[in-house]
């Protein structure tokens, strides 16, 4: 019965997803989004990996960017498509700028072959992936990035210094139960991130820590080719 009740709750989650995420991150979910939205300029080509219910994509399209959205969850995309139908949510001009593709994050380089983007966003999705899928996702996204484009990743990263890591372990296990009860899945913070961006030939351009490092926004840029 306990599980039954939980399942019933989670079934309705796509609609409340943003609200729950905001609650779990003490409001930093929307704050990080504001920081991300500052990057959007009209005419820019944006790729939103793991768009979920499309909250970010809708705001970006309203600012004039061409947005390609990807997600694997048909349920999330259904809520997204319902939002696009609702004139109260978004105007027609912006709807035309959004393109939704149902596809996995590691297959983007073969699905979107030949396309390039000014900005690639991956917000709170890397942690849900298995390690090798995450590595492949970063590599595939790097291929789709324009030479002067940015990849912006907003996620929870496992701290690399030992003391922080210890504190983090402690907090992680305290929050484990409420987190598990609310989401029924275990979102693991991203590990070995620097290794992965190295393998994708990217370098960190800028970094912002939110909530004492519990959430981090990375600006990644393609490494300059060495002169031959």
């Amino acid at each position: 019965m306990i599980i039954y009740g939980l399942m019933k709750y989670i079934e309705k989650i796509p609609v409340r997803y943003d609200a729950i995420m905001n609650f779990l991150t003490l409001g930093y979910h929307s704050r990080s989004r504001k920081i991300l939205l500052k990057q959007i300029k009209p005419g820019k080509k944006v790729l939103d990996i793991g768009c979920g219910t499309g909250e970010f994509a809708i705001q970006a399209a309203s600012l004039g960017a061409d947005v390609v959205c990807l997600d694997t969850s048909p349920e999330m995309l259904r809520v997204f498509k319902e939002k696009l139908m609702d004139p109260g949510c978004i105007d027609n001009e912006a709807v035309a700028k959004i393109k939704i593709i149902e596809c996995g994050s590691a297959s983007i380089d073969s699905v979107l072959k030949g396309k390039t983007f000014d900005l690639i966003y991956a917000s709170l999705m890397l942690g849900e992936l298995s390690e090798i899928v995450r590595k492949k996702t970063i590599q595939a996204a790097a291929i789709l990035l324009k030479d002067d484009g940015f990849m912006i990743i907003c996620d929870e990263f496992w701290p690399e210094t030992p003391l922080k890591s210890l504190v983090y372990h402690f907090l992680f296990w305290i929050f484990f139960i409420p987190n598990f009860i609310l989401t029924r899945t275990l979102i693991q913070p991203v590990k070995n991130f620097s290794e992965h961006i190295e393998s994708a030939n990217l370098t960190v351009y800028r970094k912002i820590d939110l909530l004492m490092g519990a959430m981090t926004i990375y600006w990644l840029k393609r490494k300059k080719e060495a002169f031959l």
Binding site: A106, S130, F180
Partner: protein
């Protein structure tokens, strides 16, 4: 066996035990490619979800066969549930194929995957082919049938396709459920009511283990009534044990109430736990799947969704291939067009695999638009069932 293999074996065993004990908190096996034996370029590739215990069982089952296992991210959930809610779909498989390098490397001569049959409700084979170029064939429902499936030239028969829910599976299920219901004695323990906690522990134990282990031998057709009967049995059984172990044997059933455990307390908790198990049996996919309201109204567990084959059937046989209840058979009359026919009436468990896999949307619901609605992996389910969506291959 070298040291590495021994360490892996010990780790797998420990985590498997942990998976059985705390069933509802899944542990994920890392996505990747596992090599069994000495696979060659022509060896088959078996696709698995990443629920840890499933992968361990699959590895054990395939240890003498030269093949590869492609572990796909299903959020640590078992194949059937993950496929139904859309956590195990063609995109997840494509991701695993790209991430493991199965796609670009010269690892394989063929582009064929063997998918678990129970994942049919979530996987669109056509899309999988479009994205990756791999074709999928359905394996058996139970992974222990895989050696038989291989010796049968990679073809399933009706026996392999049927979900059985064997004693072993029922036992694992009972342990998992028993541990969830431990929450009640645990709460009483916190409030230092030892006797009540001990009592509730016994109620849980008898109810759940009688229901699951003796499932085929209990009277009544439906799981919910079987569990209520089991609850009644365990009530008598427990009181019998109590009256035997009591020093003063003269007391009869109505007098055995100790301090804190009145007959009212006993009846209430036995009833509540029996009722909760009965409700749980309503959602158990191996048998039937119905809503609580429907159970109250009609008194049976039969799924509200029951397939009906419309005239648009082209006789491709895909529904027969994926049905875990052996509901379909193909017509053998050569003078007429080949079509699917219904085998058993009312044994559907509403997994919707047939609806998902039918290329012409020929399967409708006999009960019109009423069903449990817990399958999320078919985006236009309502349109398919009310006939507004038609597709021709």
């Amino acid at each position: 066996m070298n040291v590495k293999e021994i360490i892996e074996y010990i780790r797998d065993t420990i985590i498997s035990i942990r998976c059985v004990i705390i069933k509802y908190n899944p542990i994920r096996y890392p996505v990747g490619l596992i090599e069994c034996g000495h696979p060659s370029l022509d060896s088959p590739v078996f696709v698995s979800c990443n629920y840890y215990q499933t992968v361990v069982r699959l590895k054990h089952c395939l240890k003498n066969i030269d093949c590869r296992i492609l572990v796909v991210d299903s959020a640590g959930i078992n194949v059937w549930c993950a496929a139904g809610v859309g956590d195990f779909n063609e995109h997840k498989i494509a991701d695993a194929i790209f991430a493991t390098g199965l796609f670009d490397q010269a690892l394989l001569n063929h582009k064929k995957l063997i998918l678990p049959q129970l994942s049919a409700v979530g996987i669109d084979l056509k899309k999988l082919k479009e994205i990756t170029g791999f074709t999928g064939i359905w394996g058996p429902a139970d992974l222990e049938d895989i050696p038989r499936f291989i010796s049968n030239e990679f073809k399933t028969d009706s026996n392999m396709r049927t979900v059985r829910f064997s004693v072993k599976d029922r036992f694992f299920n009972a342990i998992g459920m028993f541990n969830v219901f431990l929450i009640f004695p645990f709460i009483f323990t916190i409030f230092k009511k030892k006797k009540q906690a001990h009592h509730l522990f016994l109620i849980n134990f008898f109810n759940i283990f009688i229901t699951f282990l003796l499932y085929p031998f209990l009277p009544f057709k439906y799981g919910s009534f079987k569990s209520i009967f089991a609850g009644f049995l365990s009530f008598l059984f427990r009181n019998f044990i109590k009256s035997v172990t009591k020093k003063n044997r003269n007391k009869n059933l109505s007098q055995i109430s100790e301090k804190g455990i009145t007959i009212g307390f006993d009846l209430f908790w036995s009833g509540l736990i029996t009722f909760l198990i009965a409700i749980d049996m309503l959602g158990s996919t191996p048998f039937f799947k119905t809503t609580i309201m429907n159970w109250f109204k009609t008194g049976n567990d039969e799924s509200i969704f029951q397939p009906e084959i419309t005239s648009s059937c082209i006789g491709c046989g895909r529904c027969e291939q994926v049905c875990p209840k052996n509901m379909f058979r193909m017509s053998k009359d050569k003078t007429k067009k080949r079509v699917a026919l219904l085998n058993n009436q009312n044994s559907c468990c509403e997994c919707m695999a047939c609806v998902k896999q039918c290329p012409v949307y020929a399967i409708k619901n006999r009960n019109n638009l009423v069903y449990k609605e817990d399958i999320k992996s078919i985006p236009d389910l309502e349109a398919i069932l009310n006939g507004t969506k038609n597709r021709l291959e």
